[in-house]
Symmetry: C2
Subunit: 418 residues, 2 copies
Amino acid sequence: MANIKASIITIGDELLIGQTIDTNSAWIARQLNALGIDVVRRIAVGDNAPDIRKALDEEIAASDTVLITGGLGPTADDITKPLLCEYFGGKMQVDERVLEHVKEMFVRRNRPFLERNLKQAEVPDNCTVLFNRMGTAPGMLFEKNGKLIISMPGVPFEMMAIMEDGVLPLYKSRFKSDAMVHRTLITAGEGESFIAERIADIENALPPYIRLAYLPSLGMVKLRLTGRRENEEGLIGEVEAWQHKLHERLANIVVASEDISFEQILGKLLNEKGSTLALAESCTGGYISHLITQVAGASKYLKGCIVPYLVEVKENVLGVQKETLEAYGAVSEPVAREMAERVREKLNSDYSISITGILDIDKVEGETAASRTAWIAVASATETQAKEFRFNHDRIRNKESAAIMAMFMLWKFIKGRS
Amino acid sequence: MANIKASIITIGDELLIGQTIDTNSAWIARQLNALGIDVVRRIAVGDNAPDIRKALDEEIAASDTVLITGGLGPTADDITKPLLCEYFGGKMQVDERVLEHVKEMFVRRNRPFLERNLKQAEVPDNCTVLFNRMGTAPGMLFEKNGKLIISMPGVPFEMMAIMEDGVLPLYKSRFKSDAMVHRTLITAGEGESFIAERIADIENALPPYIRLAYLPSLGMVKLRLTGRRENEEGLIGEVEAWQHKLHERLANIVVASEDISFEQILGKLLNEKGSTLALAESCTGGYISHLITQVAGASKYLKGCIVPYLVEVKENVLGVQKETLEAYGAVSEPVAREMAERVREKLNSDYSISITGILDIDKVEGETAASRTAWIAVASATETQAKEFRFNHDRIRNKESAAIMAMFMLWKFIKGRS
């Protein structure tokens, strides 16, 4: 069976001048991928008619379905709706159901309905309206040469609602595509080349319908196996057998056998052990706590966090000894150890993580390289370990690296891996 | 003068299956935009030769310069380098300078140099090597029909280093483009349509070379004026005069007249007043503290944060009275007020923010709607204000909204705006 191909067109000047990062396309791609639909191209164009028309021409020719996001707001810089209407040869008319919905949303938000908002209820007479339960701009479905062209607002949660309510059910009923299976292994602590070297023979033995991809990110490399075949039978088992082979070979560096974040990996481990965690974050400013609380159910294991951003707070609130701070300085092994021990005691948790350092390279210009250090400590009731880390990038990237390193250090501490 | 047009091609299956969000393109677009170069299209394609060739054909035809990121790693799934070599009619050869650099990077990282890594030092003989000080994969510059085609690795900080060291200086010397001026106003607390209504006459009076865009985000709408003209003279002054008109009209909702984040806006205000801040974040889990510490120099005003994620920590560490917690529950006005007051006292700051609530809609399924509430309080030495907020999206989005609402509430509290 031929694969179903999809293109995503994102419309908006804000994308082309870099004011907005496109998160919609990744979300859409994941949904389509789960249905076995291939996103073959993603394209972003500005709010101008010739570029939008050209993108429509190209993508309708290249794919079975085209998803368009953006350009549907109520203000003057949004030109997409009338353009699509004309492109597909229709004319604009008020849709009564949409009008009622738009008015109701204004009542609910306790806002007067403006003449300008009437425009939002106008839709091309040659489209099928895709209801938007989260906002006032409706989605639109056009058909041309047997291809489905879908237009949605760019506001992420409105787009998601239209996809879930209208588009994905439509795709399920219209398209029948290849069977596709993804399996992931997450490794930490070793580089892409070294992993590739260790598993070269396995990679070379993969059948043509199973593909291996290396996805490196901060401190981690994800290995993704994709099996894809017309015939679904046995495919899951086969991909999982290859995943198992890779897992055995890389046992010492594998931290998860599913595609989850490091905060989820750590959360699972704490849940399995029924253990609790407390954090003392200085230079990461609460970022580790933020990541850990992104995971639903984190209140089962995270007791809380203290961010002693200034030295006085390390002493007065967290209870690090003045003598230690004076003798070794705030960025030191003894202070990291005391921070981890004190926060574990204060919050009465099984484990703790602490971090103290300087992550901002600008800040220490002209000073010795030693000041770019961060000390991370992890503690249990019976043991404390501390380690020095160096970070060489900018403030924001260093914070991300430090958070991953700190969670990984605790994970190894609990697992008894060195 | 004709505008200089650029296209960005991003290569990688991980983008098309939604495993990775493309942040590179936005960064590149901002750099090019500052030089007056228009990014007219951004396109993402998978790791396969026909799609990459097609994208090259199209974008080289459409633009003056094409920037390619991704597909240059040392493993088997990266096919871009040999493909570019062949596309531009060259052959691969080891570049001695790159080889030396790659070997040196391995020594520095204390890793053995593998045969496989030798490939990284091979480059097409028809390109100019763009040195990569941050990694082993070199950038490459090809020229065809007077157009510049640049290939860079997809790892963000490596791409950024090559752009800064090689590409941007090259663009500056090669291209002379229109003068372009952006000015932004950030508003909070009013919707896009209402703002458009209030400034319709000003928007209609804009000259054709100045354009207004509305960029709504959580709780805020950015208004971006873009002036663009061959002749630079007076353009900045003119755009700023229009910005001033809009600012006057929207004075009650403008929170900043430059394109900065809300945490920067709040940081500036605290800096101006020489005031300090402490945070007590329950349901946001340290996210506000994380945002505030993303801003360089935050240690001038942020003393620290306590995340009392569990109720026991609210009582034992933060010092909220047991009686208050028992009488009103953890998500209540009295608890929010006590949290704000206690954290301000404990951390000895001028101002404080507290938040307590349930942001996770899954968690409260079947319970009354009231439990989806968060209470936010702000305090100074003489006054405490508290307010109830409702959040209707998923956990992650609700956390973002709550953080913006909390920072905005303190901003208004300090400014004396209601």
